[in-house]
Amino acid sequence: MVLDRKRTAFDLFNVLLMLFVLLIILLPFWYVLVISLSSYSEYISNTYHLIPRSVTIDNYKKALGHTAALLRSLGISVTVTSAGIFISMILTTIGGYALSKSDLPGRNVLFVFFIITMFFSGGLVPFYIVVRKLGLANTLWAMILPSAMSTYNMILMKNYFLTIPDSLEEAARIDGYNDVAILFKVILPISTPVIAAVSLFYGVGYWNSYFNAYLFVSSSKLWPFQMYLRDLTIANASAARSGATSGPQVQEAFKMAVVYIGIIPVVLVYPFLQKYFAAGVMLGAIKE
């Protein structure tokens, strides 16, 4: 607001408060980064881990060079994430495009059919039974298919397609294209922003997901990265508390290096993701 230029005490207070918020959010990430860059002796001698006295990437080298289980889980996460984005995008695009045709008979009924699932679900057990009965347990598909569609993302794409002028499609129809060809040859090339945004949303979702693996994948050989990390930090601490640890304790610095290996891919795509936030929220308004 450029209404009054006078800087007041409130402005100063507000900036300080925001800097405090910034500190609260970032401090944990900084702290863990410093730990992950510590050697064992540095970890023992440096109490607060706020200012690094010596920096080593040994933990990262160990994690990415000599930890087969971690590398395997990363490979699985990459596979699941890329295959997942592909399948999700196909389903979401064709669904969203068909729904963007407001004169399509039955469209409103279908719309309700999709929306209902945002508010009602069968619960965990029936879902668990369905996925098991489909024979997806202990396959990579269990981490992809059950979460392949998001109604929210489909509505987001539908709303984007609605903004494309009909004249474009009509011109293509006169040129003899059918509706499928129009979608792929005319509509998709001019829809890159929404495709990028939705792909990234799905991608982050697949990368972060663990629960389907927890439910359906019993062999740690098929675990994605998040399950590997969960086992390393959360389950491990839980076991330690009840006195049921087996084998040597994993070093804290190594654990935090693994945490950062999980953070880095998200941070790398984050700038691209952020470009589309505001647009996504506006487009995604559920109400028509």
Binding site: L22, K101, F113, G122, V125, T233, S242, M282
Partner: protein, 306 residues
């Protein structure tokens, strides 16, 4: 008449066949992964055995619901869910609104965008990553939080993630991770406010605080109400990923919620039908809450969600 409708139907089908073709796989997905599980709710009235399936399992009526009534662990989880949900509603819900209002008052554009970038980021990291980080910070021996409390306030080195504080721990760590992202919808609503409203307010001599309270807040109030309704409608099942990854056997007393209890009932005890009954009970309560919240919105003169 009938011939006419049939003709119209055939014409429509022909004209729109590609769209129906495109919708087919999507509909199949929804039927399999959303609607088949809704039908699977009937397992709550059976003694479901995996290899016998729904058609082969015995019907037992309300047996599991009667067992539910007497299950102290279920009621403990139910009570925890309600208390945690109310705490979230009272403490967590206003935070993003206040943050968005304060952010809106920032005068330096680049600082505002830096703030937004940083505040949205934690939302995109999984709860497993965040729980791992928090575990290190709250480590009873040498965690940063523990040491800070020791140095600044002379508190003993202790475990802060204990039953008596666990719910607050959930509330504040969720604010840390999600408040920034929850802000985005209010920021978007504020961006849509007509600038002439502010100009008119200035002409009328409104101070900055008055402009905020009498222009900004009323303009985003319908957004606030919609978010509130959605929150109330899902209040008993939010935060599963957080609670599931932060609780441990010691904090179950105050930190076991319905969803984590259901998960254990399935994965540890394999009591499918019983877990299904809990799920159904939970869904019914959620539906009632959603309807009530929507009704409330109508009474307040807001559009609600339908």
């Amino acid at each position: 008449m009938e011939g006419l409708t049939r003709k119209k139907l055939i014409r429509d089908l022909n004209r729109y066949k590609y769209f129906y073709l495109m919708l087919a796989p999507v509909i199949v997905w929804y039927v399999i992964f959303c609607y088949a599980p809704m039908y699977g709710v009937v397992t709550a009235f059976q003694d479901y055995v995996m290899h016998k399936g729904i058609s082969g399992s015995a019907w037992v009526g309300l047996k599991h619901f009667r067992a539910l009534q007497k299950d102290i662990f279920f009621w403990r989880a139910f009570r925890n869910s309600v208390i945690i949900a109310l705490m979230r509603m009272a403490v967590e819900f206003p935070v993003p609104i206040i943050l968005a209002l304060l952010l809106n008052e920032l005068r330096t554009k680049w600082f505002k965008s830096v703030m937004q970038t940083v505040m949205y980021l934690p939302h995109f990291l999984s709860w497993i990553i965040c729980a791992s980080i928090l575990q290190t910070i709250f480590n009873a021996d040498n965690g940063l939080f523990t040491l800070a409390m020791h140095q600044l306030f002379g508190a003993p080195l202790q475990n802060y993630v204990v039953p008596s504080t666990f719910r607050w721990f959930l509330v504040f760590t969720n604010i840390w991770k999600e408040a920034g992202w929850s802000m985005i919808i209010f920021i978007a609503a504020m961006a849509g406010i007509d600038p002439t409203l502010y100009e008119a307010a200035v002409v009328d001599g409104a101070s900055r605080f008055q402009r905020c309270m009498h222009v900004t807040v009323p303009c985003i109030s319908s957004t606030i109400i919609i978010v509130l309704i959605l929150n109330i409608g899902s209040m008993l099942n939010t935060g599963f990923d957080q609670v599931f990854n932060m609780q441990n056997p010691l904090t179950l007393e105050t930190g076991d919620i319905i969803d984590t209890y259901v998960t254990r009932t399935v994965m540890k005890d394999a009591k499918f039908s019983y877990a299904s009954a809990i799920g159904l009970f939970n869904s019914v309560i959620n539906t009632i809450l959603l309807l009530l919240a929507n009704k409330g919105a109508h009474l307040l003169g807001q559009p609600g969600i339908y």
